[in-house]
Amino acid sequence: MDDFYREEILEHYTHPHHYGTLAHPDISHEEQNPLCGDQVRFDIQLDDDQQTVQDVRFSGVGCAISKASASMLSDLIVGKKLDEIKALTKDDVMDELGLDLGPVRLKCALLPLKVVKAGVYGLSGDPDQPSDDDTQDEW
């Protein structure tokens, strides 16, 4: 049990990386998980090329899983190209978290990725917008 909420998760929860907001973000997006009331917002600042993530902040209320997931994801996307972020999958996030979650808690873990991808797709006006459940396997 004690390694379910292992130290790394709790460390990200109590001392989240990139927590806060940006004054002038190029991308800002927020979504909620209606089941648990989790709410996550990501602000992203791009390089001059408008393709690379220069800085990121996230904010919101949520459980330890969603907050740790957002904190780890923020580390993951700094310096990444938008195309690389679009290519991030559920497995990338779950590898970082190192948790085996059931379908209900999985929604908590994947909400930050959903927010980031929706924000990135929204900025580029991409016609291939992710569907609502882009971060979930269909099967």
Binding site: M1, D2, F4, Y5, L10, T14, L35, C36, G37, D38, Q39, V61, G62, C63, A64, I65, R105, C108
Partner: protein, 429 residues
Amino acid sequence: MLNAQSIRADFPILQRQVHGKPLVYLDNAATSQKPEAVIQALTDYYRRYNANIHRGVHTLAEEATAAYEDARRKVGRFINARSPREVVFVRNTTEAINLVAASWGRANVHQGDVIILSEMEHHSNLVPWQLLAQATGAQLEFIGLDDQGRLLVGHPALPGSGQSLDHLLAAHGERVKLVSLSGMSNVLGTINPVADIARQVHEAGALLLVDGAQSVPHLPVDVRAIDADFLAFSGHKMLGPTGIGVLWARPAILEAMPPYMGGGDMIKSVGLLSSEWNELPHKFEAGTPNVADAIGLAAAVDYLTGLGMNQVHAHEHELTAYALDRLAAVPDLQIYGPPAADRPLGRGGVVSFNLIKDGELLIHPHDLASILDHEGIAIRAGHHCAQPLVEHYCVPAMARASFYVYNLEQEVDTLVEALLKARRIFGLK
């Protein structure tokens, strides 16, 4: 008193281990577990006399029809209905309320009419009325809560508080067509004085619907004593199977209501352009019904009747008082709802809580539920399908433990130990 320890032997699932620990099932307000007798009734039906009902004349069809209609009689007697004609089988409480909103509501509620609900309602007793109000132009009003989580019934509305039933009935007069309220809150455990409320509502010339999803499984419920007009409840929360529920209503009201769904079994005769409706309650049971689960529900009713609903209530009352007392020893634990000894029936066996300090959650209920799960304890976390109520308390979610006939004081102790362990995991003293 019930002997919960011996009752446990009737529930095969309670032998289960979760994460290597004995299952402590405290999510009964979401759904209850099933005794062997119910599981047996289901398999008996499928193994021995599965057939479609009301039409076939062969032996299996006769047996299945008799068992289905027998189930209706048992369920009707359980709530002290006057006749099985008053008992309509549906899928669950939600479908029962939707049936009333769609059928009775469309026929009787018009622009400018008022439907009174409360701030403690489950979404199933809120959203159907929102749909009806949007379709008809009717208006929804809400009875507020006092600071102990009780409905404001007789009190005059205080500045800054919600509105009382008295006040709403007086303010809207004849425009009030229906009052629809939970018999017992699925979040706060508040048991509402529905019999008193029925008198008030009838004096005002309106009808009363009681959402019995939590009250029918846990309290003696007598439709004649309450004198309500509609009662909705679900089988799966009262030891029965999923997929079967009940709408009880006064026969005169049911007679006047148009059908909800059209199809087989709900008709007396059918022409190409029009049909004649079947008699009660079949008018509201279009298509092949859920025969197996109705029979399973009857087995659950037999089981509960064998225990005695007064005993069921007394057991849960005692366990809830014990839980409130033990939980008070957990630092920073806030409990929502009325005290255990609330009048007249006490608080129901539902305890919602948070670990919270200065308005900030110390541990999110979802994290609590996950940590407790790893101790074998099943609780619920979230808004419990009562989002406006949870928001009323200014929190995003709550944890909830809810009890039934098979729960033990030692399971409450396990819960308390696990909550203290969760505090340690999160670095709280």
